[in-house]
């Protein structure tokens, strides 16, 4: 049971890692002029909700299986994702807005955010891996 929870979280975390890498690659493509702002933002906006769902799934799993420490580790990122999505002004075309992305260093801040999330997901990945192996051994 424990192992199953951790295997699921591990898979979820893998997906989130790939998603972070995709975000980083797309944003750096925009920085280097390989794609234009509109294409970049529509690609990224498509994956904002799946990312949120993946993160919340992971948090809920930890809550349900009563692993409090890992739950508390996941909670801030899930809360931040939800906050970022809710705070988008009505006139903007999603979290990534092509008209604003080149203003006020938004491109750099999005890039930084994606990098931090990548580092965080990698950390979580190893935590889940360790916990899963522990759970498998204890079974």
């Amino acid at each position: 049971m424990e192992a199953a929870v951790f295997i699921l979280s591990l898979v979820d975390c893998c997906a989130l890692i790939f998603l972070s890498v995709y975000f980083i690659i797309t944003l750096s493509d925009l920085e280097c002029d390989y794609i234009n702002a509109r294409a970049c933002c529509s690609k990224l906006n498509k994956w904002v909700i799946p990312e949120m769902i993946g993160q919340c799934l992971s948090t809920m799993l930890m809550l349900v299986s009563m692993h409090w420490f890992i739950f508390l580790l996941n909670l801030p990122v899930a809360a931040w994702n939800i906050y970022r999505y809710a705070k988008v002004p009505m006139g903007n075309m999603g979290v990534f807005d092509p008209t604003e992305i080149h203003n006020r260093g938004q491109l750099k801040s999005h890039m930084k955010e994606a990098m931090i999330k990548l580092g965080y997901h990698l950390l979580c990945f190893f935590i889940y891996l360790y916990s899963m192996i522990l759970a498998l051994i204890n079974d």
Binding site: L30, E31, D33, N36, A37, R38, P89, M90, G91, N92, M93, P98, T99, I101, H102, N103, R104, G105, K108, S109
Partner: protein, 848 residues
Amino acid sequence: MGDMVVQWIALVPHSKKVLGSIPVPVDGGGTFLCGVCMFSPCLHGFSLCTLSSSHHPKTCTDRLIVIVCLYVSFIFHPCRPPGGPGPAQLSPSLAAMSLQSSTPEALRVVNLLQERNLLPPTPIPAPMPCLPQDLQKVNCNPEVFRCTLTSIPQTQSLLNKAKMPLGLLLHPFKDLSQLPVVTSSTIVRCRSCRTYINPFVSFLDQRRWKCNLCYRVNDVPEEFMYNPVSRAYGEPHKRPEVQNATIEFIAPSEYMLRPPQPAVYLFVLDVSHNAVETGYLNVFCQSLLDNINALPGDSRTKVGFITFDSTIHFYNLQEGLSQPQMLIVSDIEDIFLPTPDSLLVNLNECKELVQDLLKNLPNLFQKTMETQSALGSALQAAFKLLSPTGGRMSVFQTQLPNLGVGALQSREDPNQRASAKDIQHLSPATDFYKKLALDCSGQQVAVDLFLLSAQYCDLASLGCISRYSAGSVYYYPSYHHQHNPAQVERFQKDLKRYLTRKIGFEAVMRIRCTKGLSIHTFHGNFFVRSTDLLSLPNVNPDAGFAVQMSIEENLDDMQVVSFQAALLYTSSKGERRIRVHTLCLPVVNSLSDIFAGADVQAITGLLACMAVDRSVTASLSDARDAMTNAAIDSLASYRQSVLTIQQPGLLAPACLRLFPLYILALLKQKAFRTGTSTRLDDRVFAMCQLKYQPLAYAMLMIHPALYRVDDLTDEGALNINERTIPQPRVLQLSVEKLNREGAFLMDTGMIMYLWVGRNCNPNFLTQVLGVPSYTAYLLPDLDTAESQRTRAFIGWLRDQRPFSPTLHIIKDESQLKSSFMQNMIEDRTEAALSYYEFLLHLQQQISK
């Protein structure tokens, strides 16, 4: 040299103090709101901006570098001539003399609390950068390209210490009287950064040139060695491209993605009951009939018309028809074009049909009772019609769109108009218009919006359609052909200028800077397609742009930096052209030089753009606080770092003496004022204008020019074309300067007010106004000397700008008197401080 070293030693304790303790005004909410920091890219929406972490990332080494730079700056002057053949070399001592002579005047200490008359008698010219004479001679015209700091700081930390924004203000498509045009088979550009060759490159020998933006050495092509103007060989630096900072190239076919498009004009007209009531349709049709032959274009020019209320009406203008045919599409949810062609027709071939349509259009909808307006669907239909070719769409709207896609709600609360706190609903309500604008931008369609409404129209949402498709917004509140003749006149004049002005199609603009500088924010009507590339489906001569820059790498071994704006467009005659402007500015590493080179008008213009952004993303009160803090921080920085003797009072360098006045003018501007009843649409329109207008007109809007005109004399008059133009003194904007016995002219850019005092001397009334038979808007053409002088002066003011401002003659009882009086910014009102009180407030904040 000895006393200069002594001065440095005296300065170091101050600079050390500055590095550690810049005053940070803290408001009750706990957010640090320092002026320039608020606007710098380090601030992320909700995070606190702490000075220590974000401004001085490297502590000890950075401070050491700045102190060493200060030391070096006193030993070696920053204003040195660049190396390389071509520009004549000035010896360092001569350069020292020029720096010494310019610095004292710009840095002369002014105590703002004591000097009452700060405004110079004539309009202020742009400051000249401190460059060697031969570079400055070929430098770009400041009306086209202007920088907030004419001496660029060497490092980002130095810029942060100066507490002034660094940015460029451009007017690239300005109507120029002299524009060298070059037709050349080769356009010489740097191989790595693609900069166009300009007067500030250096030629290493006759065959190689060094780019001034990326420092790469390039070869001079064979064709470039020949100078067609002087028919000499072997002198590439005498060619017009290297002698003129503003130049236009005829672009060869490599610069075209598709064959140059023809001029295509589509007019989308609101014909609901409300629209017909206002009577704008008559004015529009008459104006277009009058100017139909003056529309820019060639034999391929196309026009089309769409009218809409709750359904969309198209007009089949095919050649051969006896009269125009109206096709009505009522399926507004899924709009389609009724016929594939002949909705957009060639103007020359179908001119009679077009004229026929224009004559009958007002009558067609005379009896309409439709009250709904399906603007969103009309725009989609118009976009479908224009997307194969691109072109210009002119949309005329008189009410809130309330049907179909893009329908808007009335968001304004009339009770909140005079709110002293935050103003809501400054940002768009829906992203429909933004998405449509981006679609239009992708197909090279620009949308210009004319809003002629009496009610709230949500300009904040509707304006997006123009903002991102490089269009312009025109606003005529309470337009009515009978009740508001002032607006009618303004509409007529604007339409004439709009229809006949120069236009460029399918344009892109790129702004390049020397290595080390980078652009981080853009202001204006365009879409930033990728880094530094601005997509402008239409470019017109009345649009201004602004950008903010930051210094990514220290500009250590450079004496000058350059900026280049290149605008690639298709002219209305179908020619692909590139207009290139290049600006060169010196690099300095002392704070006093930075202050000496500050351009107060450019700083005000850029701050206004930044404040508009801030009001929309955060809140209006944040923007107001940030503007005040910009003044506080820059004057505090001056006081602590540059002033050697501490005196009481509010001290400012002479070049920044008008800065608090302009900040106060901005705070009392319609866009940012609180406490006075301002309609939301008026406010949003004022914000749009602050971002869109070129600096000269934006400054007139912010701080109008006031002159006394009842006692014009020929003393000090200009003589232009054998006309004597009197030059009255510019007055301060205070009722103290107004006089019941006089008549005063206020120039706000688009509108001029001539206020006649109650006891105005009868001489003026009879000789100039022709009382009792004067009309409210015309100066009669009387034969008296006073009338001639007045008309000469007003005509001279009008001729300086491409559009014709309307003149209102107002007496004491007129309705327009309140708009006149609202511009008296130096006076106290119930909601705002007077100028002197504002200065005291600044002084109090600085000495904290």
